[in-house]
Each structure stands twice: as structure tokens, then as C-alpha cells.
Symmetry: C2
Subunit: 140 residues, 2 copies
């Protein structure tokens, strides 16, 4: 299902989450922007329209979303935790210049890993660092 078209309230309910105003807005932010934001980015954006919003609420809500597995954690840099409402398998690319985090489609079926045969794998994470196309062009 395309996240951008779904009814967020319904989606939260389906996943056992009571759809409060704040929860809806936080999830909506993730779905609409798809920018892999940090807690602070989410807070700074939403507090413009929800002046009473507390950063603790953002933390609590994201933790709840993680427990219910409707978002995933992205940890690329130390001390920079980001969140993604796209929970399908995909990789990320972080540009060292502009700091943007891009979604990268990867085909993991190609990747057969001997060393993991005897392990029970629950999550896989792939990310790259470098310079994005946009920044490469600008620096010419």
C-alpha cells in the first residue's frame, strides 16, 4: 500500500495505536516529507502549528511507532538518530556535503551470505556515504 495515499488514522488503528492528534501529525510528517528526519527536525516543524507540542511527546511517539513496527530507525552517524516511515527493505545514502539522506533501492536477493546461514536474521541495514549527484554538480 502506498503510504502517501493511506488514511493515517485508520493505519494507526490497524496497528494498535490510538490515533491522537499528535500521533497523527507526527506520522503524517514522516509520510509526507520522507526526509528521514531527526527528533529535532520533526519537533521544530510541528511546533510551528502545534505550539503546545513537547519534545518528549515526539520521543514517546516515535518509540511507540518503533514498537508497533510502523517506522524504522536509521543510524548512520553517531549521535544522529533518524526515522523512516518506509519499512520496506531499502538502503540509504547520506551525502557528506549537504547532509541529505536518500533512499536507495537494493536487491538483497542477489546477496547470498555464507556467514549468516546459522544465524536468525531479523533486520538488515545498508547505508552508504559519499557525495550526492546534486553536490557533485554544484562543485564543478
Amino acid at each position: 500500500m502506498e503510504l502517501s495515499n493511506l488514511n493515517i488514522e485508520k493505519y494507526l488503528k490497524q496497528n494498535g495505536i490510538k490515533p491522537s492528534y499528535q500521533r497523527i501529525k507526527i506520522f503524517e510528517y514522516l509520510v509526507k516529507h520522507r526526509n528521514h528526519p531527526t527528533v529535532d527536525i520533526i519537533y521544530q516543524e510541528l511546533v510551528k502549528n502545534i505550539p503546545t507540542l513537547s519534545k518528549t511527546t515526539v520521543y514517546n511517539t516515535l518509540k511507540l511507532f518503533l514498537e508497533k513496527r510502523i517506522i524504522q530507525l536509521i543510524v548512520i552517524e553517531e549521535n544522529e538518530t533518524r526515522y523512516d516511515a518506509d519499512i520496506t527493505t531499502h538502503a540509504h545514502f547520506k551525502c557528506e556535503k549537504c547532509g541529505r539522506v536518500y533512499d536507495i533501492r537494493v536487491d538483497l536477493t542477489e546477496m547470498k551470505i555464507e556467514g549468516l546461514k546459522t544465524f536468525q536474521v531479523k533486520e538488515n541495514h545498508i547505508y552508504f556515504k559519499g557525495i550526492c549527484e546534486k553536490c557533485l554538480k554544484e562543485n564543478k
Copy 2:
């Protein structure tokens, strides 16, 4: 070259690092244990034999090693930064039960990624989470 057999003092010099006692011991710890330790683990182990050791020195030294590219950063959990003296391309697996971080050999040549064509990739990181073989057996 096998890191475990090399002369650490020489290796540091070759990479533009003045081989002080602390630096040698910290690098030696990484090479001998290969356990992807945190700063605290390194500090707690080394301070047993170097009572004057400061945690700041461990931080400074690891930062220097990173700049000189003789170690790599491993960030799997938020708020848990680990270090690895093996700078060859390989993946990691963190066990959710015992917390151990395993090295996993992967063949990245198989992984052709359309979305990265126009980007300049400098680093790639792959990690998995789940239950390791040891813990799977113990829980039976």
C-alpha cells in the same frame, strides 16, 4: 597483511601516527581482541594495566585513528559507538541476546545498485540484527 602479526609501532608510523605507549596499547587491543569494542570497554580493559590512563585519551586516540583511516566506526545501535581495526569491506551482525558483534564476509560485487550510479560512494556499511547461533542453541 595480517594485522595480528604486524609490528604495531611500525604500522602506526607508516600511517603518520607517532606511536606513543597509549596509542600502541589501544591499537593493540583492537587488533588482538577484534571484539568491536566501545570506548568504555577499551578504557576499562586497558586501565587495569595503565592506571593513569584517561578516557579522554581513548577518545582522542580513536578519533586520530579514524582520521588516519586505520580503523572504522561501527554504529549499529543509537548511543553505542564501536570501533574496528579491520578496515576491509565486511558486514556485521549484532546479536540481540548476547550483544556480541560478529564479522560477516559479504561479496559486494554481486550487489549492483542502480540508484547509486550518479553518486560518489566513499563508504558502505552493512549490518544485521537477530539471534546468533550460540544463543539459538542455548535457548532450546
